[in-house]
Amino acid sequence: MLHIEKTIENGKAFLAPQGRLDTVTAPEMEGVIKQILPGITSLTLDLAGLEYISSAGLRVLLAAQRPCRRRAK
């Protein structure tokens, strides 16, 4: 199961997912990131609270960094 700690201050977002990031919970993480992405200028992920991450979870993180890199250019 997944619980996401979310803090947004002055357009800077800090996300700290806790628990498991796998095929079942990845869509939830993806939804949160999609939702906050338009309004922020920086995104920090603290993954220390994850006990397990699968390739589905890694794909969500990779998908998140793509629009960030594009905006950074």
């Binding site: 390739s55 589905a56 890694l58 794909r59 990779l62 998908a63 960094q65 793509r66 890199r69």
Partner: protein
Amino acid sequence: MKDEKSSFLGRLRGRLAADEMFHETEVQANRLGALILLCSGLILVLILILTAFGVFLLPWESVFSPAFQAIVEIVLLLAVCRLVKNDAWWLKPLLLIGLIIVYARLDGMLTHKVAILMVLPVVFSSRYFSRRLTIFTSLLTTVVFFLSSAWGATHGMINLNIVTMPAGTQMIATGGFLGNAVKNAGAGDRMLIVNTLLYDYLPKWLMFSVTSVISCNIARRGRDMVVTQHDKDVKSARIESELNLATSIQADMLPNIYPAFPDRTEFDIYATMDPAKEVGGDFYDFFLIDDDHLCMVMADVSGKGVPAALFMMASKIILANNAMMGKSPAQILTDANTAICSHNREEMFVTVWLGILEISTGKVTAANAGHEYPVLRRPDGVFELFKDKHGFVIGGMDGLRYKEYELMLEPGAKLFLYTDGVPEATDAQGQMFGTENMLAALNQNVDAAPDQLLKNVRAAVDGFVKEAEQFDDLTMLCLQYGNRE
């Protein structure tokens, strides 16, 4: 009969025999019909017994004969069902007609008393999921019960109010049932019959017609369900056979002919891939770039099944093409990454270890993109993890540059590559096999040939996992450098 198809029986069979997909439905419905007949027969026997003991007030003489005939018919029908084990194309019409006749006998015997019997055959017919059959049963029931009601007007049990008498009429019962007195009261057979049909049969028929509509609806819905299920089954079977074909295609893509290079005695190489599902995302590859350079690849695509398999085919070909151009491992991975990232909307990625062996010197130049540590056994040593530097996975981020390193193989050295399916093989309690167990299995017999080493590791994994289902693809490769015996 010259030609079965053109004979009457043949044509009848053609019309009645169900499509293959309804055959099971028909047999099940026949079985239900036999059950209905059995229950009806038992109830009839019970009625006869209760009448004989005076519990039911029915005139024995008019009850016994039709009831007995009905029981005989039931027994014969049941015997026929048993004989063909409920499976014959002519059983369906036989059962329906038989059921209508049995119930019509009872209607003729108990006329006024039995409204429900009329609907039973048509409700039962809906079990065959054929609207045409239900309509046929409705028409037959209508006609037959019309006749049995007319018969029952003078021979069965009638409503005492079936004829109107002038006010003040007195009737004297000469013994027996009041119904007989009414019948003999001089109204005449014609009036009895007409009134029974009008005031008994007609209301019953109206209610029956509603049941008929309901049964037709059930038949049609049932038919639709059977057809839908059949289509689904056909689709499933097609997909399964396509997957089997895909499994063969994928297996053929990986080099699997051994000995791989019979005329090259400087080294020996062996590799296997066991997918968890029909198709998988792990792959290995080895090929000669030129006379003095052997390229080896061990890779693992994210995920499993068909998507991973498709990505695997593309990645394998891109890596091989880049390697055949004579590039260095770092350049191969860099260029492959760029190519793969440009067509990767689904964000798939693949971990890769790629090494090029210079056969004359034993020098291996390699690069690692997020893959497991290779295992190295130096001559007269044991198998140990070789902790190389990892780049990022291929397909994850565009524009990355990969780095390579060198390691020397002396004659007698062995290199073992694998995917995470080996150390992460899980048993029923959720425990993982682990790299320690993997090294132990290899070190069981350090001098074994590559194919035997792989068998030893496989046996160790199987012994650990036992009955638990294989969760991930199991892929391994072993290279032995130095003269083959």
